[in-house]
């Protein structure tokens, strides 16, 4: 697969459980919209399926600014917010507890865990209308 250097998102801390994976590609294709693929650069078989958080929950409120600042994300910035999907048989859930935040400016990404736990890490995904 070919991609430009500008397509690479740096994850300075990796993701929990995948701390050594520091670079991911953000791939979107119309055929599978609104799915977004977070593909590891180093590990070809590692790809997280995501959807924008607002598709799962239009009223989603990001964790307190302190949690974002902790990982070096400016809260004023428009961040891409993705929820990682888990599929087990017929059941699909979305991780709203720890969304992946990506800064389009710095091209850095972080998975931010909401310490308060307002949202579920296994939010059930029903057949949702596109918003």
């Amino acid at each position: 697969m070919e991609y430009g250097a500008d397509a690479v998102i740096e994850f300075p801390q990796g993701l929990p459980g995948f701390e050594d994976q520091r670079q991911f590609l953000l791939i979107q294709d119309n055929k599978h919209a609104p799915l977004v693929f977070l593909q590891s650069v180093a590990e070809g078989s590692l790809c997280f399926l995501c959807v924008p958080v607002q598709i799962i929950d239009p009223s989603y409120v990001a964790p307190a600014s302190s949690a974002l600042e902790l990982v070096g994300l400016a809260t004023a910035e428009r961040l891409v917010r993705l929820s990682i999907l888990t599929t087990n048989g017929d059941r699909t859930t979305a991780n709203l507890r720890a969304p992946v935040f990506i800064s389009p400016n710095t091209r850095q990404g972080f998975q931010v865990i909401d310490p308060e736990g307002h949202y579920s890490h296994e939010h059930p995904v029903e057949a949702l209308p596109c918003s």
């Binding site: 459980g17 599978h32 999907l85 720890a98 998975q111 865990i113």
Partner: protein, 90 residues
């Protein structure tokens, strides 16, 4: 469940190899220092939860088409995305 009252600097031991020290108490937060062998994985609970969830997500072989359909507009419904106002102008 065992409940013990400890002051700053005091500790508890778990088994032969693990010690949890109350390093600092400040307001509503407690700083704990954990001494354990490297093979014992020590995590904040929410980090462990997300780690396990990430493992599950990475290992789930999803049917992309079926998954994309989950988010597709229902039949007969006009997707709001295609209602692009720019396109309506003559």
């Amino acid at each position: 469940m065992l409940v013990v009252r400890r002051r700053e600097g005091e500790s508890i031991v778990i088994g032969q190899e693990i010690e949890v020290v109350v390093a600092e108490i400040s307001g509503s937060t407690v700083k704990l220092a954990i001494k354990a062998p490297p093979r014992i994985l020590v995590d904040r609970k929410e980090v462990r939860l997300i780690r396990d969830q990430n493992f599950a997500a990475a290992g789930s072989g999803a049917d992309l088409h079926r998954l994309a359909l989950l988010f597709a507009p229902k039949e007969g419904e006009i997707p709001s995305r295609s209602a692009d106002k720019k396109g309506e102008r003559p």
